[in-house]
């Protein structure tokens, strides 16, 4: 069984006006110029490469960091690279208000942790609020509880991982996962 509490420093993805980005699409996450790449190790350098303000994200992000973003994250194409590029950089979790339909499947099937939590987005929504870039949070994937490091009380509660999501995460990816036979 893998780690149930993920901990890391947060990156709150904001547009140039300081608002949390909504509808970040897969071309902004991983541009179609690099679709022919099939080696995951090469994908990290292009993560968020087409998102204004985050073109150099790969240079600053550290292993274990957590990304926070708004509605419909990962809208657009079906490219697995848009998930794999974050895995390549060691991003430990993405928390968003809501997730694009295909992106959600791609993250779950590759065992990459992703969680929806409209509440945390409100906390992080305006600069100066409870949550800012660089804060360290602890997230329990089983209960959805989100706490700031060193604090006892929850600041928000996300949607706990579903059964299939947890099982695939534990197995590593969908290929290593043996479905329950009922």
């Amino acid at each position: 069984m893998k780690e149930r509490v993920l901990s890391g420093k947060v990156w709150i993805l904001r547009d140039p006006d300081g608002n949390i980005y909504n509808n970040i699409d897969t071309d902004q996450i991983y541009h179609n110029n690099y679709l022919a790449i099939t080696d995951i190790a090469q994908m990290g350098q292009y993560a968020l490469g087409n998102l204004k303000g985050y073109e150099q994200f790969h240079k600053f992000v550290k292993k274990g960091d957590i990304i926070i973003t708004g509605k419909n994250f990962g809208a657009g194409s079906s490219r697995q690279q848009a998930v794999d590029c974050f895995a390549a950089l060691g991003v430990s979790l993405i928390i968003c208000e809501s997730i694009g339909a295909i992106y959600k499947r791609n993250a779950i099937n590759s065992g990459f942790p992703i969680m929806t939590c409209p509440e945390i987005v409100k906390l992080a929504g305006e600069p100066g609020l409870k949550l800012k870039d660089g804060d360290v949070i602890r997230v329990d994937i089983e209960s959805g509880a989100i706490k700031k490091n060193g604090e006892v009380s929850e600041i928000a509660r996300g949607e706990a991982f579903s059964g299939v999501q947890k099982d695939i995460y534990d197995a590593g990816n969908i290929f290593s996962y043996v479905p329950p036979s009922n």
């Binding site: 509808n23 071309d27 490219r79 295909i102 791609n106 579903s162 969908i174 290929f175 479905p179």
Partner: protein, 416 residues
């Protein structure tokens, strides 16, 4: 309790027949068609080889490769990726619709492979276009598809269903694309997120197959899992014409089906719509955008690449000329569409008007194969996405084939 269309399709495909198809439940579903394009395909092959060494796909006769992103490949990596799919397909007895076939999703419909009531998956994010024929389609990443090809089944979370009633009928110059953009304007890119939308009403019943394709193709931009046009007599006739022996079920929702939301929109006064950059939800009346000069025009894509779309453009430009400063491009969706354009002669009309006519495929969308825009250039496109950087460095506006064609002739956004 009754079921919605997506629930009934899933119910017919359950691995464990007793499972409850209630929204939110996770169920295992049999897949009737599993496909991969040249985009994603190479990684599908890589995953199958890595995780299932020496094993075959579950059923080669239900498995397909469709090359449409870069057709033919014009970069070495794409050429290598396509070749790896071809070799894998040959070894495993899988059918390939190669670079001369056209857009995979359209080819699957035209060939009578994607039938009403079936479940279809592929690496194309617009595979939910299958809603047009009353089927369930889901675009997936390459791991998902590798698993689907190997096992012939996968997990799904039953989506909530949303019912949209459309009042009124489309009147020229409003087209199915304008209806589609109007819906995006109304609900936004995340308003229908994660739901299965069902469309009803007089306007929907009146839509021909190519128009249903336009509407369902943009489910992705609406954030929906799928946008279903309930299969009807027209759907059945369409597939009977392909094969008299075709077996399929036209699934209707139960009268007591439960919808998470129900909306009614009125399109009686609908006028041509345009989605302004950088988002498909950023929709205005075309008449408000007359001051925008156009540098590039693209007519094609899985949203507006059917013969009737080309015919609409040809009718608009017949005897007129594309302005000399405009790069105007036509890409038929499939071989069949191109063939018909030759037979009816509209290809001549378009060519003589000054359009560049390319071979069938995705053309303008995936890798800018038929040209991109430079900085500050304006493109008007019949495709489905106008995100920054998607079709070049310039700005992309989304519109119907009529608006695109008239803009090519007038030099600014227009429809007459």
């Amino acid at each position: 309790m009754g079921h919605t269309i997506v629930e009934k399709i899933f119910k017919n495909h359950l691995i464990h027949p007793g499972d409850d198809v209630k929204p939110g439940n996770i169920v295992w579903i049999k897949l009737d068609v599993r496909s991969a394009r040249d985009f994603g395909g190479a990684n599908v092959v890589k995953n199958i080889k890595k995780y299932y060494p020496g094993q075959n796909v579950a059923d080669p006769s239900k498995t397909y490769f469709t090359f449409d992103c870069q057709a033919p490949a014009n970069t070495i990596p794409y050429a290598n990726n396509q070749q790896s799919c071809r070799l894998f397909a040959k070894e495993h007895g899988i059918r390939v619709f190669d670079v001369n076939a056209g857009i995979g999703s359209h080819v699957l419909i035209e060939s009578g492979i994607a039938l009403p009531g079936t479940t279809i998956v592929g690496t194309d994010s617009h595979l939910n276009i299958m809603g047009a024929v009353g089927a369930f389609g889901q675009g997936m990443g390459d791991m998902d598809i590798a698993y689907a090809m190997r096992h012939g089944a996968t997990w799904f979370e039953i989506p909530p269903s949303v019912r949209i009633n459309v009042k009124g009928v489309l009147k020229f110059p409003a087209t199915a694309k304008d209806l589609t953009l109007f819906i995006l304007k109304k609900f936004g890119s995340a308003g229908l997120l994660g739901s299965s939308v069902e469309f009803y009403g007089e306007a929907i019943d009146a839509l021909e197959m190519h128009e249903r394709i336009t509407l369902s193709s943009m489910a992705t931009e609406m954030g929906a899992i799928v946008a279903i046009i309930p299969a009807d007599k027209k759907t059945a006739e369409y597939f009977r014409a392909i094969s008299a022996e075709a077996k399929f079920e036209t699934i209707k929702a139960d009268s007591d089906a439960k919808y998470a939301e129900e909306h009614t929109i009125d399109i009686s006064d609908l006028v041509p719509q345009v989605a302004c950059p950088p988002s498909p939800e950023n929709v205005s009346d075309a008449s408000e955008l007359k001051n925008i000069k156009v540098n590039s025009v693209f007519i094609g894509s899985c949203t507006n690449g059917r013969y009737e779309d080309m015919e609409m453009a040809a009718r608009a430009v017949a005897g007129k000329k594309v302005r000399p400063e405009i790069m105007a491009k036509i890409v038929p969706a499939t071989h069949e569409v191109f063939q018909k354009m030759i037979e009816t002669g509209i290809i001549k009309t378009l060519f003589e008007a000054g359009f560049i006519i390319s071979n069938q495929g995705c053309g303008g969308c995936a890798s800018g194969q038929i040209g991109m825009t430079g900085k500050n250039e304006v493109q008007i496109s019949t495709s489905n996405r106008n995100f920054d950087g998607k079709q070049g460095d310039g700005k992309t506006y989304l519109a119907s084939p009529l608006v695109a064609a008239m803009s090519a002739v007038n030099g600014y956004i227009s429809f007459e």
